[in-house]
């Protein structure tokens, strides 16, 4: 392989169009030396490593290294060729033809073929928890060993993103199609993929050791010899490990004080807003079947009574952005013109008066309980803030804690709550992570992160149905903009915080991930300079 000098790289980058890799201009990529080991520290615990049947960062981060996907996303939300050299969408938008690379091999030496792509698409469609990702896929037909045609029951604009890392890992048919149940398949803990790294060892509770796959189809990549994901129980030890250089990457610093500490630490760089496509939002959800909360004016009053700036800047150190609607600000579908609820106690009081909930002689109006996901320090702070904040409005708030996640999930998904703080993630395309919490058809008892607010607005249902099939980007954006405006006005939730992923790097880590998926994208460009 030709070795590029920095000058050549700069010239090539300036020369323009064809000189990019996965959408990243070459002049942005530093030339990195081959070799070295990078250790990522995390508190996340993967169940297994097969992201075809498992969501969550814990699995997706190693899976993005083990498995290649048909496409990968760049820093500008654009899909770039990966296992698929190119793809074509039919005129009626009901089929997508994938042309696969002919030189791609699995880690066991077998070639990656259209059969594997068909098997993987069907596996994800039938088993992945995000049903909407590939729900419209009717069939996958194979034209030749390197061409697969995805046939759809309806136009599906989210399809290309749903084929990116690590939603659609191409898993080997010759290993997983052996009649065993795929969700509990023993090879999920010891998989073979065609990604830049192959698995050496997965020890739950300890580490995942990955090694460079020398036959990776992108020649010369990855530069690293090994990539290790090390599990820590305690977030405080994790930051200390980064400061000491025991690890090279801290996968997510959440505590504001720790973020400040990391920013001041020598030889540490904090990348803010890493992986914006993941898009977590913390909101206060209202149970709209509650006698008082069924009235939009009451929900709006509570929203006006919450000083989000105080929560975010004073209580949470100003490291997170304010959320104003159901789609995060980094998304191309975000509506920046939505009017946020400004802190206004007078307006809030007037709304409650108008709703017939006038203050009694002692100043109180009614009482509500508020839940929160246990273990989240940010939510605990918000929960505690709500008591005095809503007391000013005459609402007596009772804080209810849940001993563990299942208890909270059961209460919320059984609609046994008044208000709850919740964290719901966008997951790239609204079809995947947004529709589920707003569609009236998705009010499902017992299912967490469905429409547990019991929110129902036929106009919203209609807009989401249209946007979910609209292939014209401009029209689709317009539909989502209107949806956001309505939802914010209806106020089934009060949006509080866009949780910002702050990833800590040792400064000698080169080519930090720029994809909208952050650390859950292939780290095949990353290198490490000797300290």
């Amino acid at each position: 392989m030709k070795k590029w000098s920095r000058r050549e790289l700069i010239k090539a980058g300036a020369a323009g169009a064809a000189t990019s890799i996965f959408g990243i201009p070459l002049h942005v990529l530093a030339q990195v030396a081959r070799g070295g080991v990078v250790v990522i520290g995390t508190t996340q615990k993967p169940r297994h490593l097969n992201s075809a049947v498992q969501s969550g960062i814990a699995t997706m981060m190693p899976a993005a290294q083990l498995f290649a996907t048909p496409v990968r996303m760049d820093a500008n939300w654009k899909a770039q060729p990966y296992l698929a050299e190119r793809w074509e969408v039919s005129e009626d938008s009901r089929s997508v033809t994938l042309h696969l690379r002919k030189d791609a091999k699995f880690h066991d030496g077998k070639p990656v073929t259209a059969e594997d792509v068909k098997f993987s698409i069907e596996t994800v469609r039938d088993n992945h928890p995000f049903k909407t990702m590939l729900a419209p896929v009717n069939a996958v037909t194979i034209s030749d060993p390197h061409t697969a045609v995805v046939r759809l029951s309806e136009p599906h604009p989210a399809l290309v993103l749903a084929m990116s890392t690590s939603f659609l890992p191409i898993i080997p048919k010759h290993i997983f199609d052996d009649g065993q149940e795929i969700k509990t398949h023993p090879r999920n803990a010891n998989p073979v993929g065609s990604g830049p790294f192959k698995l050496v060892e997965f020890k739950p509770g300890e580490h995942i050791i990955l090694e460079r796959f020398d036959n990776f189809f992108v020649k010369g990549r990855p530069p690293l010899d090994r990539l290790i994901i090390k599990e820590y129980k305690d977030p405080a030890s994790l930051l200390l490990a980064l400061e000491r250089g025991e690890i090279d990457i801290h996968s997510g610093i959440t505590d504001p004080r720790e973020i400040e500490r990391a920013k001041k630490a020598p030889n540490v760089f904090v990348q803010s807003n890493s992986g914006p496509a993941i898009g977590p939002i913390i909101w206060l959800a209202f149970n709209t079947t509650h006698p008082q909360l069924s009235d939009k004016r009451v929900r709006q009053a509570i929203n006006y009574a919450i000083d989000k700036d105080f929560i975010l800047k004073t209580l949470l150190g100003g490291v997170h952005k304010r959320a104003v609607g159901p789609i995060v600000s980094a998304s191309p579908f975000h509506n920046a013109k939505v009017e946020p609820y400004k802190h206004d106690l007078a307006k809030a009081g007037a709304l409650l008066d108008a709703a017939g909930l006038k203050a009694k002689a002692d100043g109180t109006r009614f009482g509500l309980t508020v839940d929160a996901i246990p273990g989240s320090s940010d939510m605990k702070v918000m929960q505690e803030y709500l008591k005095p904040a809503l007391a000013k409005l005459g609402i007596e708030v009772t804080l209810r804690s849940s001993p563990d996640f299942p208890t909270w999930a059961r209460r919320i998904s059984s609609f046994e709550f008044d208000m709850t703080l919740d964290s719901v993630w966008n997951w790239g395309d609204p079809v995947i992570g947004v529709h589920r919490t707003w569609l009236s058809s998705n009010i499902r008892k017992g299912v967490i992160w469905s429409n547990t607010q019991n929110y129902s607005n036929p106009k919203v249902d209609e807009l989401l149905a249209q946007a979910g099939q609209e292939m014209d980007m401009a029209k689709r954006k317009a539909l989502y903009q209107e949806f956001q405006k309505i939802v914010v006005d209806d106020c089934p939730v009060a949006f509080v915080q866009e949780a910002n992923f702050n990833v800590g790097f040792r400064t000698n880590v080169q080519n930090r991930p720029t994809s909208v998926w952050g650390l859950i994208s292939p780290l095949d460009e990353m290198g490490i300079r000797k300290a």
């Binding site: 995000f130 969700k183 739950p204 200390l240």
Partner: protein
């Protein structure tokens, strides 16, 4: 012969005890609120009703509890403890992976505590009124009073930040992959802080206990006789007195093995030590019933084995017991 009969009898009791432990734990765990399917769904990033049903079916959670119990016990007696709900791997494999690190941690801590604690106690007993004896007593009290997780955090700050010479998490550095000796040195380096943290509380107890025990033994007639015979002081102390003074230490060591394992849960969490304790903790938080039951059962086995070994050690220390 008498010894073998005794051993067989003890092993039979142990087997019955393990079955009882399994049953009680099974009942308690299933009586606790919370649906494992929801946890698994939460780990997966959410799921619809169909997926939830599939999860329940896959793990037999849709069956009545009595049926689950009979299925579990009939498999357990053959050594099959089922599959982990969360990690989707055989529980026995997971436990065997974690058992070694826990035994290594607990035994290192126990031996460190007994050895250093006893030596300090013996030293203090010989000069009970000295400043050194007073210092040992005060240090013992401090060690005994400090919660083990707090000691661990202090040591992490001290040796991780202020004087960064020790690894603060895990059992090994995954960057280091080499021969047996390289790996062993790396593991030993990682073991220092967790083992010392766990040892410190017991070290305090053993030093107090051996001090009191030695003071009592040293005032016995036979010690006076030994000294009158002109034996060297170190022979009097270490050969004659210490052997008798060890009895209460061995008794306490056996009795405290269970406490040591529960202390290991905290230490393993602070130092991310990949042992049974952290496995049990993750299983509790994740409602991973089979793994939790497995971890508790193996903890019970460890305690039973420790008690058996204590009995055998008694017989080695006190020849009078061998004739009983």
């Amino acid at each position: 012969m008498r010894f073998i009969a005794l051993l067989i009898k003890r092993l039979a009791y142990a087997f019955g005890l393990i079955l009882a432990v399994l049953t009680v734990n099974f009942v308690l765990i299933h009586a606790a609120p919370g649906d494992p399917a929801l946890v698994i769904a939460g780990e997966m990033g959410g799921a619809d009703a169909e997926v939830l049903e599939q999860i329940r079916k896959n793990y037999g959670l849709d069956r009545p509890v009595t049926e689950q119990y009979v299925t579990y016990m009939s498999k357990a007696v053959t050594g099959d403890l089922g599959k982990s709900y969360l990690l989707n791997q055989p529980v026995v494999d997971l436990i065997l992976q974690r058992l070694g690190p826990t035994i290594l941690l607990v035994l290192t801590a126990l031996l460190t505590a007994i050895l250093i604690g006893t030596l300090l106690g013996v030293y203090a007993s010989q000069r009970p009124e000295s400043v050194a004896s007073g210092a040992i007593t005060i240090l013992s009290l401090i060690g005994y009073a400090m919660p083990v997780f707090w000691t661990g955090i202090l040591l992490v700050i001290l040796f991780g930040k202020v004087w960064p010479i020790m690894p603060i998490a895990g059992m090994s550095d995954p960057r280091i992959y080499g021969d047996f000796w390289t790996t062993s040195v790396d593991v030993a380096h990682h073991l220092v802080l967790p083992a010392f943290t766990l040892a410190i509380i017991y070290l305090a107890q053993y030093s107090r206990l051996s001090r009191a025990s030695m003071l009592e033994v040293l005032s016995s007639d036979y010690i006076r006789t030994a000294r009158a015979k002109g034996l060297a002081e170190h022979m009097v102390v270490y050969k004659h007195a210490l052997r008798n003074a060890l009895m209460p230490i061995v008794t306490i060591a056996g009795l405290q093995f269970g406490n040591l394992i529960s202390g290991a849960v905290l230490v393993e969490t602070v130092f991310s030590w990949p042992g049974l304790g952290t496995l049990a903790l993750d299983s509790i938080l994740g409602r991973d019933y089979p793994t939790l039951l497995g971890a508790l059962t193996f903890s019970a086995i460890l305690v039973i084995v420790a008690n058996l070994l204590t009995d055998l050690t008694y017989r080695w220390i006190d020849p009078r017991l061998r004739t009983r």
